[in-house]
């Protein structure tokens, strides 16, 4: 599949934004300290911007962005429609939570729990949209949706960790939570890479349908490209993919694990040291963009059988 920049940006950025709430919930549940106003403002601003920018960029790949509102209507059958609808509903608990939390009004934990449920639902809809496409065998499995959810949680809660570190909030249990999330995510990812090696039951024999031992592609409909070949068929290079997988694992899993381990007992006193964890978060985000790019580039659409792919 062709990796569309706006879709990659949208799913990674808004997924991270929603993941911040999950991280924040555990952070607040594990230890209720009086967070400084700057901490609250910064987390609120970043999560809000990420979600809004992500959703806006998702409309960029549309042929008619001005008609995007129509996409809320078909929630009965379409996961894309459900995703749009739930993402808009999520703004209500989000804004309420920001208001209650920043002004220290009781009930913000309850609002955060509601917000987390809707955030997870939004990522769930995104994942389901891909996972229900039978035409792309490497997406059509039960691991895709959990991976989408875990990706959001991993990078989102890493962001909360980096801000904790900046403000010198040492929360021991939160550290353990984030390490467990990263390891689970890594295991999910490895199982996914093993799973997609399986051959799908759609092949050139079923595509053409003629009973013969040997069918091979002879000639395409034309010598040039067309919409289908540019959108759904791409040459994928295994060597490059493996290199990108490794880069992703190092950026999103290994570096954060190492740094959290190194920093767990450290009190950040210098400004540069305080910022370093935010830099680690940015690297993890870049890793996630690589992962999402891989998700597209290594998946094959069954229409490729009609084009000798």
């Amino acid at each position: 599949m062709h990796p569309s920049k706006s879709i990659i940006f949208f799913t990674v950025i808004s997924g991270t934004g929603y993941g911040i709430f999950i991280g924040l919930l555990f952070n607040i549940l594990f230890i209720e300290i009086s967070y400084s106003l700057n901490y609250k403002l910064f987390i609120s601003l970043v999560s809000f911007l990420m979600i809004v920018l992500g959703l806006l960029s998702s409309t960029l790949h549309l042929g008619h962005p001005e008609r995007a509102w129509r996409a809320f209507s078909q929630w009965k059958s379409s996961w894309l429609s459900r995703e749009g609808l739930v993402s808009v509903i999520t703004f209500f608990p989000m804004v309420l939570f920001y208001y209650f939390w920043i002004n220290n009004i009781n009930g913000y934990v309850f609002l955060l729990i509601i917000l987390c449920i809707f955030s997870l639902l939004t990522i769930f809809c995104t994942g389901q949209m891909y996972a229900t496409l039978k035409t792309i065998p490497s997406w059509n499995n039960s691991l895709v949706t959990p991976i989408y959810i875990f990706n959001g949680i991993t990078v989102g809660s890493l962001f909360v960790y980096s801000i904790n570190f900046y403000f010198n909030y040492n929360i021991f249990l939160y550290e353990k939570f984030i390490i467990i999330t990263i390891i689970l995510n890594l295991l999910l990812k490895i199982s996914y890479w093993i799973l997609i090696r399986q051959k799908s039951n759609t092949n050139i024999q079923t595509a053409v349908g003629i009973k013969s031992k040997n069918i091979s592609f002879f000639e395409g409909p034309h010598t040039g490209k067309n919409y289908l070949t540019t959108e759904m068929i791409n040459k994928s290079n295994n060597k490059k993919n493996n290199f990108l997988r490794l880069t992703f694992c190092i950026l999103t899993f290994i570096i954060p694990l190492y740094m959290i381990n190194q920093y767990s007992t450290l009190i950040a006193d210098q400004f540069i040291l305080k910022l370093s964890m935010i830099f680690v978060f940015i690297l993890a985000l870049v890793g996630m963009i690589i992962e999402r790019y891989l998700f597209f580039i290594q998946s094959k659409h069954v229409v490729g059988f009609y084009y000798g792919n």
């Binding site: 209507s73 496409l133 349908g209 069918i215 067309n226 919409y227 659409h301 069954v302 229409v303 009609y306």
Partner: protein, 244 residues
């Protein structure tokens, strides 16, 4: 609505005979000609005379080499357009309801007024039947010439999809596949017509008729070598000498 109708009154579709098709592309060209001024008009071309031309086509002819039961292989020309599936996944994924299947005849259409151009339907279709028109920003597709088959301004014998009326070999038939007694249904029964990618569970209406077996074409006699010489040059010399 993007929910599929529980039952359609008719199941209009095409039957394509791979035994007859010679791959002349007449169906694709006449499809483009009719539809560029029809329901989904225009079918844009981008850089038609440039180095890298592309454009919207509803019908395309692919060619495969198929090993035959006896001796060697044959070339099979394989025209493919929208199969107007009973369980059309392109319809249910549509977030706006622009993509729909008609109750009355089962034709799958796109409403260009409400399509947002998200392209998800083209991802959901296993057959590559959907064509994104980048100039118009909407998805387009084969309409089964809905503006021709019901067109009362045309004589009755011309009310056929453009691809069917233009096929010089009669490889394409059009009719109601829901009616067991229709000509197309009989043809499917007789020739063991089949569905493409049945494992994708789309229940396509269009059926394909397989090329006929070549078993009886040969009487199982061994082919004899035309020359003792294996070397091409020697063989040429042999032919030359024989003709002197």
């Amino acid at each position: 609505m993007t929910e599929l109708p529980k039952k359609t009154n008719k199941k209009l579709g095409l039957v394509i005979d791979l035994d007859i098709c010679v791959g002349c592309h007449a169906c694709a060209v006449s499809c483009k000609e009719w539809n560029t001024s029809g329901h989904s008009s225009p079918l844009h071309d981008v850089e038609p005379y440039g180095d890298d031309p592309t454009g919207v086509w509803f019908n395309r002819i692919h060619t495969f080499e198929v090993e035959t039961e006896v001796r060697g292989s044959k070339t099979v020309h394989f025209p493919k357009s929208c199969l107007h599936c009973d369980d059309a996944p392109c319809v249910t994924v549509c977030p706006t309801g622009a993509s729909y299947k008609r109750d009355e005849d089962g034709i799958v259409l796109v409403n260009a007024e409400t399509c947002i151009g998200c392209k998800l339907c083209s991802w959901a279709c296993p057959y590559g039947a959907r064509e994104y028109d980048e100039t118009a920003g909407v998805m387009k597709k084969c309409t089964l010439c809905v503006d021709k088959i019901y067109n009362e301004n045309l004589p009755e014998n011309e009310r056929l999809p453009a691809c069917v009326s233009s096929c010089p070999t009669g490889a394409r038939s059009f009719g109601d596949l829901g009616d067991e007694n229709s000509e197309v249904s009989k043809l499917v029964n007789e020739r063991e017509g089949y569905n493409l990618m049945p494992e994708q569970d789309c229940k396509p209406l269009n059926k394909y008729l397989p090329p006929k077996s070549n078993k009886d074409l040969f009487n199982n006699e061994e082919l004899k070598p035309v020359s003792k010489n294996n070397n091409f040059e020697d063989w040429i010399n042999e032919v030359e000498n024989a003709s002197k």
